[in-house]
């Protein structure tokens, strides 16, 4: 039997579980389901899934508690399912250790892409750093060794901060990075100046994107953070 990745779906709405399971299995994954927090915890601890899709609105416990519990003993990828217009909950979950989020209602392509990205997490990160990554069909190319960035073949000069933003996003391409995470990554744990981050992002975009308001490589998740497109 092939070694298909196992995905644990934690969701109390049966109809949603149905179509999620159907979609994931047709995409080559195996699925488990848990309808509440207790079942989720027991399933996770006994089956050790490869990824968890966790709905924040569970009937018996706060989804955040399940998240924190799982994070307490494992770095397994966790994607939270949330409603739109609840950015505070999303950011809180991401900053508590969730890897990504999907808003309901789901777009199937988005779902599969996020699952793919999350499963790759930690697996090849080490050797990716030593390679050249390219995005957007070769439009953007980052050479980590020589610390060179080119767009459409042209060398682009970035400030140290801009380079760090770009490479951090690139190393986590496909996953969302919250504003807080970026701030900490760039300026340490006490950084709070959101405006500085926006300004640096805007400068970076002007250097690598053809149209800053219609970006190809670095996408904005309003209220949450930024997401780089997946590598080629």
């Amino acid at each position: 039997m092939e070694n298909k990745p196992v995905i644990l779906i934690v969701e109390d709405e049966a109809a949603i579980v149905d179509f999620l399971a159907a979609k994931l299995e047709s995409g080559g994954y195996r699925t488990l389901a848990a309808a509440n927090g207790r079942e989720a915890i027991s399933s996770a601890t006994s089956h050790c899934p490869d990824l968890v899709l966790l709905d924040l609105g569970l009937p018996d416990m706060d989804g955040m508690d399940v998240l924190k519990f799982m994070r307490g003993w494992s770095a397994l990828p966790i994607i939270i399912l949330s409603a739109r217009q609840q950015e505070e909950d999303i950011v809180a979950a991401l900053d508590s250790g969730a890897d990504d989020y999907i808003t309901k209602p789901f777009s199937n392509s988005v779902l599969m892409a996020r699952v793919r990205t999350a499963l790759r997490k930690g697996v090849t990160r080490v050797d990716r750093v030593n390679k050249t990554l390219s995005f957007g069909g070769g439009g953007l190319s980052i050479d980590f060794d020589r610390r060179r960035v080119s767009v459409e073949g042209q060398r682009v000069h970035l400030t140290p901060v801009e380079y760090r933003i770009l490479t951090y996003l690139a190393r986590n391409a496909g996953a969302v990075i919250t504003h807080t995470t970026l701030l900490r990554e760039l300026w340490g744990p006490y950084a709070t100046d959101n405006r500085l981050l926006r300004v640096n992002m805007a400068n970076l975009r002007r250097k690598i994107e053809a149209n800053s308001a219609d970006p190809r490589y670095i996408l904005t998740e309003v209220g949450v953070g930024y997401r780089m497109v997946e590598t080629d």
């Binding site: 950015e87 988005v110 959101n194 926006r198 805007a202 308001a213 309003v222 209220g223």
Partner: protein, 494 residues
């Protein structure tokens, strides 16, 4: 100051010089009179009465006792000299002593009576002034529209009447605005007249057992007299009553506003329920058909039904998102502004739109540097989404949409233009009202997209911005959604 007692005017020559002059004049007149009487041989009883009259006149017309007593003494001597036998001689006898004594008594008695009268007059004058003051304050209070007017009406007059600094503190009871008001030229933040070591007298402002605040009267000039105290209390009662009436009218107004809001809410909900039923009917119908068909439907029909279910469900989702935006706008928390990059909001709205309408061409143009705009990102994203969806629906299959991000006069503008049929002139004036729908006769026109535009308008205005619509000369409609800047524009000099 005119008052009712002004008709009675007491001859009151206050200056000492004036008093002596009138004293001398009266005595002179009396002297001449006595002389005349003596010559005429009628001096017997009349001269005495005349001199007594003179002493009375001086005592009545001068302040204090000294002028009267002086005139009594001088008058007695003149009488002795001119009238008493032997005439033109002063003999100190029992007769003279008695005359002098009686004159002095007359003077004292008159002086005492006059003093009493003066005191009563002054008291009556003060009482009349107090009544005038109460009438004046009452008039002002009747026309006072807010807490400040009430305070000012009472404070200026009360402090004027008492000659002391007065202040009023409203505690905010009864739903009124709390605040502190001072009499005279005192600035708002000047400390109360307590710090010079002198106390203040506090009078509570309460009416019908409801406390509205307290009035504070400075005792820097000494304690309050009973009259001053009763005046202050009367004014405080007036103030409390006025506050009570104001509180009642504020409550009434609030109740009216609440009732209006309730009505508007019910209207809104009715409209929504109606609008929600339409797509649901289509979804239930289409899915029922698929279920009942048992796989017998031709594939094209089946696919079409499933497609319809999809698009109606999407429409439902849009409506739900719009409703959520409305509740967010109306919530007690108000909108949550944070600084966002205009290009980021547009980028995300466009990305989301493209996933739904992959065949629509979207172009984004930005002619300014980075625009950091304070906004509620979720709401603005929703508004842009509504505008984009509208453009796609009305421009049809070959739609092409442009978004321009510009900066003008302290506003960041997002202009969404399409190449559709434009806005019918009949619909223009009510475009942003609840039941408008513009443009073509395609089946989507019947779906009442007015709510999307109404929500855009509400979101714009909640930010202090605006939205406007016009037809482009080359055809198509254009919607300009603008938000005010709170902060400076950052340009990267590129």
């Amino acid at each position: 100051m005119k008052n009712k007692l002004s008709g009675i005017r007491l001859l009151n020559l206050n200056s000492p010089a004036g008093s002596w002059i009138s004293c001398a004049a009266i005595l002179l007149a009396a002297t001449l009179g006595c002389q005349a009487l003596a010559r005429a041989g009628l001096a017997a009883g009349n001269a005495g009465a005349l001199m007594a009259l003179a002493v009375f006149a001086v005592s009545a017309s001068t302040q204090g006792y000294k002028y009267g007593l002086a005139s009594a003494v001088i008058g007695a001597f003149i009488y002795e000299y001119l009238v008493t036998e032997p005439r033109l001689q002063i003999n100190i006898s029992l007769d003279f002593a008695l005359t002098l004594g009686i004159m002095l008594l007359i003077s004292l008695a008159t002086g005492a009576v006059m003093n009493g009268m003066r005191i009563k007059y002054r008291a009556a004058l003060e009482a009349e002034q107090r009544v005038e003051l109460m009438y004046k304050i009452n008039d002002l209070l009747l026309s006072a529209a807010d807490e400040r007017a009430i305070a000012q009406s009472c404070l200026s007059h009360l402090s004027g009447a008492l000659g002391r600094a007065v202040s009023m503190h409203f505690s905010g009871g009864g739903g009124l605005q709390p605040g502190t008001y001072f009499s005279g030229e005192q600035a708002k933040d000047r400390p109360l007249p307590r710090e010079s070591g002198s106390d203040a007298h506090f009078i509570p402002l309460s009416f019908q057992n409801k406390a509205y605040g307290v009035a504070e009267i400075s005792l820097a000039k000494g304690p309050l007299s009973p009259d001053e105290l009763s005046l202050a209390q009367a004014v405080s009662r007036q103030a409390a009553q006025a506050l009570h009436l104001l509180a009642l009218s504020v409550q009434r107004q609030q109740a009216r506003l609440d009732a209006e809001a309730e009505k508007a809410r019910s209207r809104f909900l009715r409209g929504i329920s109606h609008d929600l039923r339409t797509p649901l009917t289509a979804i239930i119908g289409a899915s029922n058909t698929l279920l009942d068909s048992g796989g017998q439907l031709p594939e094209a029909t089946g696919s079409k039904l499933i497609y319809d279910i999809q698009s109606d469900a999407q429409w439902l989702l849009d409506m739900v998102e719009n409703i959520l935006s409305v509740t967010r706008l109306q919530g007690d928390a108000g909108i949550n502004k944070s600084e966002e990059a205009a290009e980021e909001i547009v980028g995300e709205a466009v990305a989301r739109f493209r996933r739904r309408h992959p065949q629509v061409k979207v172009e984004v143009r930005q002619n300014s540097g980075l625009l950091l705009v304070p906004m509620d990102a979720t709401l603005v994203s929703r508004a842009l989404g509504n505008l984009l969806d509208n453009a796609a629906r009305y421009a049809g299959a070959a739609a092409s949409v442009t978004i321009d991000i510009t900066r003008e006069n302290g506003f960041a503008s997002f202009t969404v233009s399409d190449n559709g049929p434009g806005i019918a002139s009949s619909v223009m004036p009510r475009l942003f009202a609840a039941e408008a729908s513009y443009g073509s006769s395609s089946q989507d026109a019947a779906r009442g997209h007015g709510m999307g535009l109404l929500i855009c308008k509400t979101i714009a205005e909640a930010h202090g911005g605006r939205i406007s619509a016009y037809n482009l000369p080359e055809g198509g409609a254009s919607f300009a959604f603008s938000l005010p800047f709170g902060t400076e524009v950052y340009s990267n000099g590129k």
